[in-house]
């Protein structure tokens, strides 16, 4: 017990002594792991949205008001017959009004001002493969019964592009900075050893075991990695909270990932930071303390 306390106290006092270099190492771990964790969250957001997109409604065809019910039914049947189409759902003006009410339940003024009759009927199309959305949109472009087709495809493509760029950039930087932070931690450990070289030489002289000498330094590196990782997790959680607050009541896009995801990966990031710290200090200790 007193031995453990002694080792921890050694590590802490050493951290205090090299505060500036330690701050640099922690910062490097923090930035690196924030990028890595951020990239993971963006990835997850992308996956979440893709799943919704994959399972949901892909194209909405709004009808002109002057189209007869028969013509609407014909069009739906025609669309249904296309190979690319998995399923269609018809939503008439009443259904549209109900949906509108639901969507803007928190804005009664808007609901009061809106005339139910201006809301168009629509056919919602589910595709067998989301990639066909362009063909379908194109095919319906000149149909006289169609007022407008709406699809999330464009947003989807945009999101996909942004996500892959962010991913590549984020992970690339994260790896670079990860290496840098391990090296920085190794460096702080070297400095710590240097600062305590007299003490270490006396310890060797009186027969302290190698692990007794090493453990404070390993602890020190581990703490640096852990603190950096904790800051990164906190930053990503905060960032995610902010983003989730911006989430629109939108049909297509979600800006938040599950809490399970955040917690599980948060713990993994913490463990990763701590082990990176240990690896860094092990590098710092190498060649040194060979008795």
């Amino acid at each position: 017990m007193s031995r453990a306390a002694y080792l921890i106290q050694q590590a802490l006092s050493s951290l205090r002594r090299n505060a500036l270099v330690v701050a640099a190492a922690i910062l490097a771990v923090f930035v690196s792991l924030t990028l890595a964790f951020g990239a993971l969250v963006v990835n997850e957001l992308f996956r979440v949205n893709t799943t919704r997109w994959q399972e949901g409604v892909h194209v909405v065809v709004f009808m002109k008001d002057d189209v007869s019910q028969d013509a609407q039914a014909d069009l739906e049947r025609e669309i249904q017959s296309w190979d690319e189409v998995d399923k269609t759902t018809f939503c008439d003006k009443t259904c549209a009004w109900l949906e509108f009410n639901e969507m803007f339940a928190d804005q009664p003024a808007l609901l009061e001002e809106t005339d139910a009759s201006i809301l168009p009927a629509s056919i919602r199309i589910k595709l067998t493969n989301v990639d066909y959305y362009r063909d379908i949109t194109f095919r319906l472009l000149d149909n006289p019964a169609v007022r407008k087709t709406v699809t999330a495809g464009d947003r989807f493509d945009q999101l996909s592009n942004i996500s892959s760029i962010l991913n590549a950039l984020g992970l690339g930087l994260a790896i670079l900075l990860g290496v840098a932070s391990v090296v920085l931690i190794a460096n702080t450990i070297r400095m710590a050893i240097y600062a305590r070289r007299d003490e270490v030489s006396v310890m060797k002289l009186v027969g302290a075991s190698n692990w007794f000498i090493r453990i404070p330094f390993l602890l020190e590196g581990m703490l640096q990695g852990f603190v950096g990782a904790a800051l990164a997790v906190a930053a990503v959680w905060a960032g995610h909270g902010f983003l989730a607050g911006l989430e629109p009541d939108d049909f297509f896009i979600r800006l938040s990932v599950g809490n399970d995801f955040l917690i599980q990966w948060g713990i993994l990031i913490l463990l990763f930071g701590a082990s990176a710290g240990i690896v860094g200090s092990a590098f710092g200790l190498r060649r040194f303390l060979k008795v």
Binding site: M203, L205, F212
Partner: protein, 266 residues
Amino acid sequence: MILLEDVTKVYEGGIVALRDVSLDVQKGEFVFMVGPSGSGKSTLIRLMLREEPATRGKIWVAGKDITKMPSWKVPNLRRSIGTVFQDFKLLPNRTVSENVAFALEVLGRPKTVINHQVAQVLDLVGLATKGDRYPLQLSGGEQQRVSVARAFVNRPPILLADEPTGNLDPATSVGIMRILDRINRTGTTVLMATHDHAIVDAMRRRVVQLERGRVVRDQSRGRYESFRVDDDETPKKVGPAVEEPSPEPPSVPEDKEPADVPEQSA
């Protein structure tokens, strides 16, 4: 307690520090190692502490063959050897008591045992009242006594001292030697490398003389300089190395090493 068999140490670059050194030190003996700088005294101490491996030969310390010892056992070896150096090697940011206690702390001894043993050993070296001072508030002699206390606080069976009086004036040196003598009387084997003629001549203990990495004299109740044995009735015990034809007879002081030879015999 300490046994060396044909030990040779060659440093990188081919510098031969020790050449076929054999030495047998019994338990409870007090041995002076004398010889000019570079004769191999410090190397011998480093080998016994396993700070360096021997190039050839065998070394037993406290019954263990340390030439074959795996490095993880070395800390254990060092717990059975107390060490005192010319430059004290005290930690300036710790008090006298803390410096001595440090040797026990790193071995994980309980606090009550540490307090008791530290008080006891500080009393032994005559610093019972100065436990709360910092090393830099002490004189050189007192600092060296702290260093001896730290070396002995664990009651090791062996005490190695490398020029412990090298930085001290003669009067202070006598004080240190009294303490080492007392420690020796408790049954601790003491091996001390020194340049201090007065001390060696006054103590009249076994003297091992090294020159250029060889043992050139091994004499019980010896003096610093071998030629002065002649004007003394003490029987001369000559080590095996002397019997070999040696290019430099050990009985004559070398002109080449004037630094280590006294100007006059006084």
